[in-house]
Symmetry: C2
Subunit: 183 residues, 2 copies
DNA sequence: TAGATTGTTAATCGATTAACAATC
DNA sequence: TAGATTGTTAATCGATTAACAATC
């Protein structure tokens, strides 16, 4: 789609996404898309519809456990706020970190997870702790009522049916790249 | 597979991975697996074979651009070394960071990327810079001869056929979790 | 109208799984 | 031998894509 263009064909969308145009039309057909034959899709309408369908029209509150380098990086990550994810709490065990602020956010101890998650209606917990602390943090997040957990720690968490856990495995990413170097 | 067990059935492997046992056997059949009918797979042999097949028996040298919180976290990430990925270079533009060390690694300026990547046989570059610097770093990595790039910056990079680029999109991870909260 | 592009069907393709002979 | 489990085939399932009537 050229800049300034307010309509976009399935072929243009497909080019951008690196997929087949028929795929785009088929997928969009599930959500009653704003397509017009001979013309294409209204970009603004399509974007709004997709945001609605994907549940991205309301903000989600996020808590981060682990105020080390990774936790700090995530706390300050500008992309989250831009996409409607508000980091509203930050936890650590380190007494020298508790009470300090990172990106204007106060670092709180783990035993406040329960209270703060409930009070601030946090629905997503991010684990950015060392592997050894991951399960404890996950348990606290679960009992506090988060709906989803994003786990950066290199640890496999016990599955809880109450919560969806997604792992970001940085080593796997490198392994996949390494594998392709040999193909 | 119980601890201490040195053999493992496709059913046990499937349980661990959350897939179908037939899937495990089918997939393994592509690599002449060390399976014995009525017994199962020798775990040590299977692990060694998979490591060989996946090209994970030799170390890969990694350079990280961006010595902020994310770059620091990645530099110190213990999982990389444990899996045979050696972080051997760290770059930044910030003059107050250049010359300092993080995890015993000297922070170097961007214009040394070319020389150091070549000298240290780096094959994987990690971009942990703000979005604005990502393309420049990617170009330098490519001209320096890296084979693969892992991009953490919220930026879409120009595709270069010489290099495989993989993006870790932290916002997407949260969006996927958010979507499932509504299903 | 002629040209363009959607929405949808039907065909194709590939991935998953059930089933079972082979065999330890 | 009897029981277990692989390796592989054939069947199933679902996802992708080509094709085209509908229609702007």
């Amino acid at each position: 789609m050229a800049a300034g263009q307010d309509t976009c064909s399935s072929e243009q969308l497909a080019d951008g996404a690196g997929v087949n145009p028929a795929q785009v039309r088929k997928d969009l057909s599930f959500i009653d898309p704003p397509g017009v034959r001979g013309v294409g899709y209204d970009v603004a309408e399509l974007q709004a519809l997709l945001r609605r369908e994907l549940g991205l029209t309301r903000p989600y509150r996020v808590a981060i456990a682990g105020a080390g380098n990774l936790g700090s990086a995530l706390t300050m990550y500008p992309g989250f706020n831009e996409s409607g994810f508000e980091v509203v709490a930050l936890f650590d065990t380190d007494k020298t970190k508790i009470g300090t602020t990172i990106n204007a956010l106060l670092v709180e101890p783990f035993d406040k997870i329960r209270g703060i998650v409930a009070a601030k209606s946090v629905s997503i917990g991010i684990i950015a702790t060392p592997a050894g602390a991951a399960q404890e943090v996950a348990d606290r997040f679960v009992e506090a009522g988060v709906r989803s957990i994003l786990n950066f720690a290199p640890a496999v968490l016990k599955r809880s049916s109450a919560v969806e856990v997604k792992r970001v495995d940085l080593t796997s990413e490198l392994q996949i790249l390494a594998y392709h170097q040999n193909q």
